[in-house]
Amino acid sequence: MATVNPGASDALDATGTTATALARETRSLDDRLTLLQARMVYIALAFGLACFWFGLVYLQLINENGMWKPPGVHQPTLLVGLFEMGLIQASGIVYFWGQWAGLYQRKFNILTLGLWVAALLGLASFGFHIYELHQPGFNSLAPPLPGAKYPAVHVSQLQTGYTSVFTVTEGVFTILLGASLFVLFGIANRARLGRFAKSAVAVEAFGEFWGFMAAVALLNFLALYVQPFFHSG
């Protein structure tokens, strides 16, 4: 396709190139290392989490013994899933708002506010996850199996492909979310203490990671709540 305004395009390219070069020049080695570390960590996590998503697709496709999601097995409430996912998306947006204000407009009070609000929204999502794992409601119509061996483990009430994948995927995500929130509250605390005036690369790096977590939450929602709606096994 012909370029409508080649001059503008060249200018944009030139700006992009210059910005990249400047970023390389102005970022210290430690800053570049911090950003790289965050990226490598979430790429590694993506490979780990892919096991569960592969498990979901695989077990659903083969539907072993008709036990992927037999009649009587229910999904956890869609509303709870929506809250879990929505809160993390909101948290991500608020984080980005704070990051933008702090890093690019030097408004550190907004940065602090944004990080704290993002952390609290994340905490609310974490609470919903815990609640859901405790009461998944896979089989709300039927009573718990009378011979449940270990009553504290509610997921053992009915073993199917769907409930198994749901439990491991959401269980691991909840653990990751808890660990991430610990770091997020730490970053928010450092922002409160004014520690990011000189270098805020930690905010930037964690921001990328938090975006990754939001993407995983969205994918989990689509895979575990929306998609099985249309496939009951």
Binding site: I43, L59, S164
Partner: protein, 635 residues
């Protein structure tokens, strides 16, 4: 970090050494497992299964171990708004006298390399001792020393211990110690996670040993489900141990890749990086991306065992194929995490002791990356007899055989380097040369096994076991010893005893080949793996294999004697006893805390042996050269 005078600092409970850390971890573990987790305790009353309780006890033990070592001190301080002081940094970098720094959390990559070396040797001796017991049992055709369950425990402990050990055998000691030196860096990119990789590695081996107290595990190193779902509590030790090793591999991989990407000295362009560094980078990329899959699949087994999910239980909608697919998606790159670093080490050594440039350097480096890439596309050759769709077999047969092409290029590079070279048969060179016939046997038997008809006949037999050992022991372990004899004079400033070294080499070479050639024959005759019984007609061959295995086992003693001799009484040598070009040999022995007095300016490649006119690889004091008006950085 500016180097200052050594500082003295007393240890506190939370910056303590490995012994305190292990003691606190064991106490925490016992508290969870036996005080509140067993009959009548709160966890028991809450309804947690024994598997859940044991896994929780392990997790608490791991966290306590890391806390007492001091891994959480800095993060907590950072979160609370503090930063590390200069005194703390110096203490952490080991700028204190004495050997105490080798037993605690230290951030100097050279100390971490040394910690890795001795831990690798410890694990090798433990795993090797298990192997001796296995061969002792197999001297007769009926189980006569151990019960079948104990035998399986021995097999499991041997295999997983060796896999954990081998996954770090070159990256751990040599990658950590020498990669920063080879690229002219002052330190690793992430010293804390480098240290974390070591301390998790150490703990993984120790946790694995605790499986013995819980009746072991029957699955060998592959941990196949649903057998793993049904196994004794010892299986939980396997899950935690392998998970810790996997985590160690991930953080180690991230650290090394970032170091080589961003920490190279001026002038270290891609073509001036030596083969060892490239090989370690390839293996690190594989570890970074493949080990998360291991942790994912082990987590799934853990959920099956602890929370009664049914991911691998067909009656509950799960599938054993799911496990096999996921495990081998990790498992085959894992083989190259172990093998590829060995290529780099032996290629470097061949070049130094042939006094010739590395033949086909670029092709060899590209081949290493090719092997790494192809290793992701072969996993289903492990499933040829598991019911894999027949239509898929040719693809995986072909992709597996494809790996022999880049491997062949590396062999060609080695032969081309040796051709018309002025070969010196030093100890490192002997081990490096032995790598090639050993690995060749492993590779060729691998091509046999990649063929579907042969694999169907030989699957699960001792032929496969021999193939695997030719690749990993004949390849990786010989390269490791080549590296030890080559680089240890740089660590210690002392030389090994040549006679003891040659006794070590010949007993190991003969013992190794005698054992595994015989076991390949045993496999062709139909003996399956992991079974303590065999028909009487296999007695003689098994007995011969055991005798050679004992010779192989005995070969470690001259090595250990030589190690002690070399460190304590060895002849003192200068900073570059092999007249090598690469950067690690250009600094003082032992290297200072920041490796070089000044960041070197690299102006040539590491392999310009015999090239006329030849420049030194680096200008080690660029500031002085510039001051004198010389042409620093002629490139």
């Amino acid at each position: 970090m500016a180097v200052a005078a050594p500082v003295e600092r007393r240890s506190t409970l939370f910056t303590s050494n490995v012994f305190t850390a292990l003691l606190v971890a064991v106490l925490g573990f016992l508290f969870i497992e036996y005080v509140i987790g067993r009959g009548g305790g709160p966890l028991w009353a809450f309804g947690l299964s024994p598997n859940s309780t044991l896994l929780l006890a392990y997790i608490v033990g791991v966290l306590l171990y890391l806390a007492v070592l001091g891994f959480f001190t800095y993060p907590f301080k950072w979160i609370l708004g503090g930063d590390e002081t200069q005194e703390e940094r110096l203490y952490r970098y080991g700028a204190v006298p004495g050997i105490g720094k080798y037993f605690r959390l230290t951030l100097d990559h050279k100390i971490i390399g040394a910690q890795y070396l001795f831990t690798v040797l410890l694990f090798f001796c433990v795993g090797g001792f298990n192997a001796m017991l296995i061969r002792l049992e197999l001297t007769g055709s009926n189980a006569h020393y151990f019960s079948p369950q104990t035998y399986l425990t021995l097999v499991g402990e041997h295999s997983v211990m060796m896999l954990i050990m081998a996954s770090s055998i070159i990256i751990g000691p040599f990658g950590n110690y020498f990669v920063p030196l080879m690229i002219g860096a002052k330190r690793m990119a992430y010293p804390r996670i480098e240290a974390l990789s070591f301390w998790l590695f150490l703990l993984s081996g120790l946790v694995l040993l605790t499986a013995i107290f819980y009746d072991g595990f029957p699955t060998g190193w592959t941990g196949y489900a649903p057998l793993a779902d049904q196994a004794h509590l010892g299986m939980d030790a396997y899950l935690v141990a392998f998970g810790l090793a996997g985590t160690s591999m991930i953080v180690s991989g991230i650290n090394i890749v970032a170091t080589v990407l961003l920490m190279r000295a001026p002038g270290v362009i891609w073509t001036r990086i030596n083969a060892t560094t490239w090989a370690v980078v390839v293996a690190s990329i594989l570890a970074w991306l493949a080990a998360p899959i291991l942790i994912g699949v082990l987590t799934m087994v853990g959920f099956d065992r602890a929370f009664e999910t049914g991911l691998f239980v067909p009656a509950w909608g799960g599938s054993a194929f799911l496990y096999e697919n996921l495990f081998w998606t990790f498992g085959h790159p894992e083989v190259y995490i172990l093998a590829v670093p060995a290529f780099g080490v032996v290629l470097d050594i061949l070049s130094v002791f042939s006094r010739k440039p590395l033949f086909g350097y670029r092709a060899a480096v590209v081949s290493m990356f090719g092997i790494g890439l192809l290793s992701w596309f072969v996993w289903q050759h492990h499933l040829f007899v598991s019911g894999l769709t027949p239509g898929l077999r040719p693809f995986f047969m072909f992709s597996t055989e494809m790996i022999s092409f880049p491997t062949g290029i590396i062999f060609l590079s080695a032969l081309g380097t040796l051709f018309l070279g002025k070969v010196r048969f030093t100890l490192p060179m002997l081990f490096a040369l032995a790598f090639f016939p050993n690995f060749l046997l492993g590779g060729i038997s691998g091509v046999f096994l990649s063929d579907v008809p042969a694999d169907i006949q030989l699957h699960g037999s001792y032929f496969v076991q021999a193939h695997f050992h030719f690749v990993l022991m004949g390849g990786t372990l010989f390269a490791f010893f080549a590296g030890v004899y080559y680089w240890l004079p740089k660590w210690t400033g002392r030389q090994f005893n040549d006679l003891l070294g040659k006794i070590h080499f010949w007993t190991m070479f003969l013992g190794f080949n005698g054992t595994f050639i015989t076991l390949a024959v045993v496999g062709l005759l139909g003996m399956p793996r992991r079974v303590p019984y065999y028909p009487p007609y296999l007695h003689t061959t098994n007995f011969i294999a055991s005798v050679f295995a004992f010779i192989l086992g005995a070969s470690i003693f001259p090595f250990l004697a030589n190690l002690v001799y070399g460190i304590v009484w060895g002849k003192q040598v200068n900073e570059n006893p092999w007249q090598a070009r690469s950067l690690e040999w250009q600094t003082t022995t032992p290297p200072p805390i920041e490796n070089f007095d000044e960041i070197p300016q690299v102006v040539a490649g590491p392999y310009d042996y015999g090239v006329v006119p030849s420049r030194p690889m680096a200008i080690l004091r660029p500031s002085q050269v510039t001051a004198a008006g010389a042409t620093a950085g002629a490139e």
